[in-house]
Symmetry: C2
């Protein structure tokens, strides 16, 4: 059975009763797993983690949009996080038995439905993008809701689905397909934030580092510790252990050691198995050897 | 739901049709997972890996004994592996949601039933042992089927359940509870078997090494490679990464490097997560953060 994850970000993080009502409704959908809900009042944004078969998600995500559009009006929405829509972004992510192609197909189906049935302009991004210029979420979102009407007048920003002008209260939604994202932080036993910043700039793609790493360096409040805070956007191609080893080696160059690392939120099992197999130098290992994996087979 | 694993070893590894018939019958038991079946003709022995709830296993294991006793006559059985019974040994192992205490209780229930209903003498071992002298399987099995009648005449070898004399064709069965066993081999990039033997003797408990490691050194046929072949009998207390690091360090002392390692058969997910968390120096990590784990929750 193909299982797909979806992590919709909605532009409401203050009125927790509104978010709770939407989540409550989603929990009533047969076969839909609501894995996690995180609301951030500063960002005024909530991140839902859902999972299900393509069929279940095809029902659930338009429903989520409908409910969110009824509750959120971007004309009065304020928050620190940039946003283009009431349902701002909606990535589909392959889990067990599903491929990236399944996720791209699902993104197109759901995007087409949002455009046609809810009169919502939809942009496809990342693996589902209709052109290389639309792969990057930040590019699509630049100008935010407030600049969207002007942006959509440019021919290169015609939406992939739906009307040619913004939805008056819900803006536009960015739908796509990507690998699971791992929020991975490495703490260094020093108070020198410049070391964390230099290492972040060494490991991240944007300044010449590893292809699937985004990183920044920061101080941890109240502790004499600095952090290399990262998003790993493809753990198969840029695995956790390679990132850890590179940070450790770069830190040594400044006479600094790694204190600890942390995974924020959820992580696919495969990412940790890759790390174990790497450090233990396992040959010929397969996830099929994991006892719990066998129990799940029919 | 408490899930328990059981790895019965039966004294038949040549007549594969006999083993197939028994397995076929077990597959008909509702709720029983038959995870693996390995037959070894040299040992004339088969190892079954089963899993289920305590209730399911309480039905399945006596059934397995009944079928095996009808097919195997130890009076004519020959094989390299030492054995005491037609069903030689039957360990219960805690999986998700189950404790060692659950396994000990189940071993006693099943042992009592084998004694009463099948007239089979039963010895309890490892965590289920009725005295420290009976913890060790090798001690109970010493003398094998052929020496069992004499051994049972000694007061200290009265069985825990069942008749005071051996079953005429099925001998006795050893029932117990233990942690999952991981068959873990580390290959060294050298043809010097003395190095593998010295390292094996350094890491194993019996000669002063780690508490939950059994090890021997051997040559791999057809390759200029030697192997430290190990059983890890408690991966929580003696984790894989500690064993790997110790073998690697000892090998360096002889100017030898680790070529690779391998896990033979199944491994609990937790053992690999422990290794990943160790090498990545993960702080505050919980298996609840594994995405697939969340999907299994109701």
């Amino acid at each position: 059975m193909a299982l797909i994850e979806c992590v919709p970000n909605i532009s409401e993080g203050i009125r927790t009763d509104v978010v709770a009502d939407i989540v409550q409704d989603l929990r009533g959908i047969d076969g839909l797993h609501v894995l996690d809900v995180q609301s951030d009042p500063t960002h005024n944004r909530s991140v839902l983690t859902l999972a299900g078969t393509p069929e279940v998600l095809r029902t659930a995500l338009p429903r989520l949009c409908e409910l969110t559009m009824a509750a959120v009006d971007l004309r009065t929405h304020r928050g620190e996080h940039p946003r283009l829509g009431a349902v701002d972004v909606m990535p589909f992510i392959p889990l067990e038995g599903a491929t990236m192609a399944d996720c791209v197909a699902l993104a197109r189906l759901v995007g087409a439905e949002l455009g046609a049935r809810l009169a919502l302009p939809v942009y496809l991004y990342e693996e589902a993008a209709s052109s290389p210029a639309r792969r990057n979420l930040e590019e699509i979102r630049r100008g935010e809701f407030e600049g969207l009407a002007d942006k959509m007048r440019l021919p290169e920003w015609a939406p992939d689905f739906g009307p040619a002008t913004p939805h008056p209260t819900a803006g536009a939604t960015v739908v796509g397909a990507r690998m699971p994202l791992i929020a991975y932080n490495i703490n260094l036993a020093t108070d020198r934030v410049d070391v964390a910043r230099k290492i972040a700039s060494t490991v991240r793609m944007s300044s010449g580092g590893l292809r699937y790493v985004k990183a920044m360096g920061l101080s941890l409040e109240g502790r004499p510790v600095v952090q290399v805070s990262m998003n790993l956007t493809n753990f198969e191609k840029t695995p956790m252990h390679r990132v850890f080893d590179m940070v450790q080696r770069e830190a040594a160059r400044y006479g600094v050691t790694v204190l600890e690392s942390e995974i924020v939120g959820l992580v696919p099992q495969a990412a940790l198995l890759l790390a174990a197999a790497h450090y233990l130098q396992l040959e010929g290992f397969s996830a099929r050897q994991v006892l719990e994996h066998r129990l799940q087979q029919p």
